[in-house]
């Protein structure tokens, strides 16, 4: 069965969306490896300790980062939402459900 140009165009768009989603997921998945872990008490022992790192001076801030959580988790949530919204927009556009035209 021969696909129409329109169908091909939509397929390419869908592939692009999927590729973007995959890249985004990979990027943010790497970043969230900073998860803190909480091993059960009494299941481990302490080994060697390093020296002190170089110091960094304190900087006053009016914006406080999330307490006790990995900031990248917030980034990931934002990215997932943005990707989902993009997908919905493209789906609506594909099915001509949007009041404005964003593709031929």
């Amino acid at each position: 069965m021969k696909l129409s140009n329109q169908t091909m165009s939509n397929k390419i768009k869908l592939i692009l969306v999927a590729a973007i989603a995959l890249l985004g997921t990979l990027f943010f998945s790497y970043s969230v490896n900073a998860q803190e872990i909480t091993p059960a008490a009494g299941t481990y022992s302490y080994g060697s300790t390093s020296e002190f790192s170089p110091y960094v001076a304190l900087t006053a801030s009016t914006t406080l980062a999330p307490t006790g959580a990995d900031q990248n988790t917030g980034y990931l949530a934002f990215a997932v939402l943005a990707l989902a919204a993009s997908g919905i927009l493209l789906y609506l556009a594909k099915n001509r459900l949007l009041p404005i035209k964003i593709s031929k």
């Binding site: 080994g47 390093s50 020296e51 002190f52």
Partner: protein, 627 residues
């Protein structure tokens, strides 16, 4: 009536027979010394009377030894005021029975309180009036034999020992042997202000498996050779408590021995510990406390609540060498979580605490494992503050291996500090490093597993923590960057380094609002420790990152580095953190004129699969390495 009288007579005779035939119940005998001479008893089996009619210390011991039974007592009532000096002309008989020798029974004598319950404070010297001069004995001044368990010695001044001998020797070889040695002056005159020990000698040497050496002044024993030790005890379950060791009787001025105490554990690592508690050990020429050495291990020793380098009033006095010098000692404890368990170890000429892997003769390597050092002030005044003259002149704590022949695991599994209330040490004001971990460069990973957690480390001259491999020979601390820069600061570790393979996180930025402090950091772990005793990657739990606040942008000798003065907290990560953040609630006011640094500590679990020997009977094993 006649019949009654005969009955009564028989009754009396019968009772007499019972008394005569029954085993004798011997009452303890008191022998009272009333003669400061040194004559022997005419007939010890009948009493202590000498030919002159008096009772001397010598004749009293002879009579006590000849008397039936034990628990006898030797007391004193020598006529005349003041101090009575008994100058021995030969060796006294060895004491083989449980006996109490009580010099405070001399009219006018009394025990003071040399170390007050609350330090810093004031000493109340003893008033002791019976002085025993041992110069001419050619032997130990007093000897307790192994059969004399339970013996008590109180209220004597024992000085001028014979050359090469000891003032008191305790031959308590047998399990359960105990002795009480309380309220005496060793090595001084009656004032406790002047040394009376002109020759090579020690104060108290022996073996104990219980009992206490308490409330004694032990000072002035000096030596050009291997003697001059205040107390040398091999044993277990004994206590050395409330003594002044190396000062005058008022606890203020140095009247040093060559060294203060030498602890030796009895035979095995399973023995209960000897405890050194609440003494003032200061003013000695070399070491305050030596814990173990060579084949005499210092296993299980407990050292708590002492001033080591301060006088009784809390003023810097120092010992000439290390405050505590530990060799071949495992499972030792220095400090505790209670204020009363805290050692203040300051103003000493060497390190505050020196854990060493090599014997004094330089010929052997001895392993030290599972030491706990917590709750101490090291290098500060008695309030935990940095003050001029209180820092130890080397490092606060040094773990030190200097011999390339020493094997893997010379010093390992030691903990400095901890998370629980009272466990952090204050390590500050020392001339070199706060904590120095040194391993002589060679092919082994000999010094590792030194966990340094949640302490307050600041104002030390060099680095807060120095993993050093850039000096050789004597174990003196390094004062230059040397390979330390390469190995540690830049996080590239060769196999030769102490605390092998541990790098720290990199702090990218910080920000605070109120007392909420957020740090942004990267942490890429280098890996796991490898051969010859593999700690496998599967044993790795994660990495604990400790964060610290400091008032200064630079603390110590090196630009760009400070020390962990105020502990903020910690968390555990998996070792591949990029651009990560964590927020702490600061225990102190954040001003913007402060700085942050961090350390990393490895966490292991279930070391049962390692190629070496595990410690403990079940997971989590705390150690993988050689026996």
């Amino acid at each position: 009536m006649r019949r009654l009288s005969i009955f009564g007579l028989c009754l009396v005779l019968g009772l007499l027979c019972v008394v005569i035939v029954s085993p004798k119940a011997h009452a303890a005998t008191i022998f009272t010394v009333d003669d400061a001479g040194d004559d022997s008893a005419v007939d010890p089996s009948v009493g202590c009377a000498t030919a002159g009619g008096g009772c001397t210390l010598r004749s009293a011991i002879e009579a006590e030894e000849a008397a039936v039974g034990i628990n006898h007592a030797i007391r004193f009532n020598i006529p005349g005021p003041g101090v009575h000096t008994i100058t021995l002309t030969s060796e006294l008989p060895h004491i083989t029975k449980r006996v109490t020798i009580d010099g405070t029974s001399q009219p006018g004598a009394s025990c003071g309180t040399l170390v007050p319950d609350n330090l810093p404070g004031s000493s109340i010297p003893h008033t002791l009036l019976i002085e025993v001069n041992g110069t001419a004995t050619g032997a130990n001044t007093l000897t307790f034999e192994s059969t004399a368990s339970g013996i008590s010695l109180k209220g004597l001044i024992l000085n001028n020992p014979a050359d090469g001998w000891n003032s008191l020797f305790i031959a308590g070889y047998d399990p359960g042997y105990s002795a009480q040695v309380n309220c005496n002056y060793f090595g001084t005159d009656s004032t406790g202000e002047t040394a009376q020990t002109p020759v090579e000698s020690n104060a108290i040497v022996g073996f104990l498996h219980g009992g206490s050496i308490q409330n004694n002044l032990i000072s002035g024993y000096k030596s050009a050779g291997g003697q001059g030790v205040g107390i040398v005890i091999n044993g277990d379950a004994f206590t050395i408590q409330n003594n002044l060791i190396g000062t005058t009787a008022d606890g203020i001025t140095a009247l040093g021995n060559k060294s203060g105490i030498w602890l030796q554990s009895h035979n095995s690592s399973s023995s209960p510990a000897g405890t050194v508690n609440h003494n003032v050990i200061s003013g000695n020429e070399t070491i305050g406390i030596k814990n173990g050495e060579d084949t005499y291990s210092g296993n299980n020793s407990v050292i708590i609540g002492n001033y080591i380098g301060l006088n009784v009033e809390g003023t810097a006095l120092g010992n000439g060498g290390d405050g505590i010098y530990s060799i071949s000692a495992s499972n030792f404890t220095i400090g505790g979580i209670l204020d009363t368990d805290r050692n203040v170890i300051s103003a000493n000429g060497g390190n505050g605490i020196h854990v060493f892997s090599q014997g004094d003769d330089g010929s052997g390597c001895y392993s030290s494992t599972s030491g706990q050092i917590f709750g101490n002030y090291i290098g500060t005044n008695s309030s935990g503050e940095v003050s001029t003259g209180y820092g130890n002149q080397a490092s606060g704590i040094t773990f030190n291996e200097v011999d390339t022949n020493c094997s893997h695991g010379s010093i390992f599994s030691q903990t400095v500090g901890g998370d629980n209330t009272g466990e952090p040490n204050i390590i500050a004001g020392n001339t070199l490093d706060g904590v120095r971990v040194y391993q002589v460069p060679d092919s082994g990973t000999d010094v590792f597993g030194i966990a340094i957690l949640a302490n307050n480390i600041f104002s030390n001259g060099n680095l807060g923590i120095n993993l050093a491999a850039d000096s050789t020979g004597s174990g003196t601390a390094d004062t230059d960057l040397g390979p330390n820069v390469i190995n540690n600061f830049l996080m590239s570790y060769p196999a030769t380094n102490a605390n092998y393979y541990i790098n720290h996180a990199v702090i990218n930025s910080t920000a605070y609002t109120g007392n909420q402090l957020t740090v942004n950091y990267n942490f890429q772990a280098n890996g796991v420790q490898e051969s010859p005793y593999d700690l496998l990657a599967s044993n790795l739990v994660g990495y604990r990152l400790d964060f610290y606040l400091n008032d200064n942008a630079q603390d110590g000798a090196y630009a760009g580095y400070n020390q962990g003065k105020t502990y903020l907290g910690s968390f555990i990560v998996n070792g591949s953190e990029t651009n990560a953040t964590h927020t702490f609630t600061s225990p102190v006011t954040l001003t913007g004129n402060q700085s942050i640094s961090t350390t990393t500590t490895v966490l292991w679990q279930d070391l049962s699969s390692c190629n070496g020997v595990q410690q403990g009977s079940s997971p989590p094993y705390s150690y993988c390495g050689p026996q």
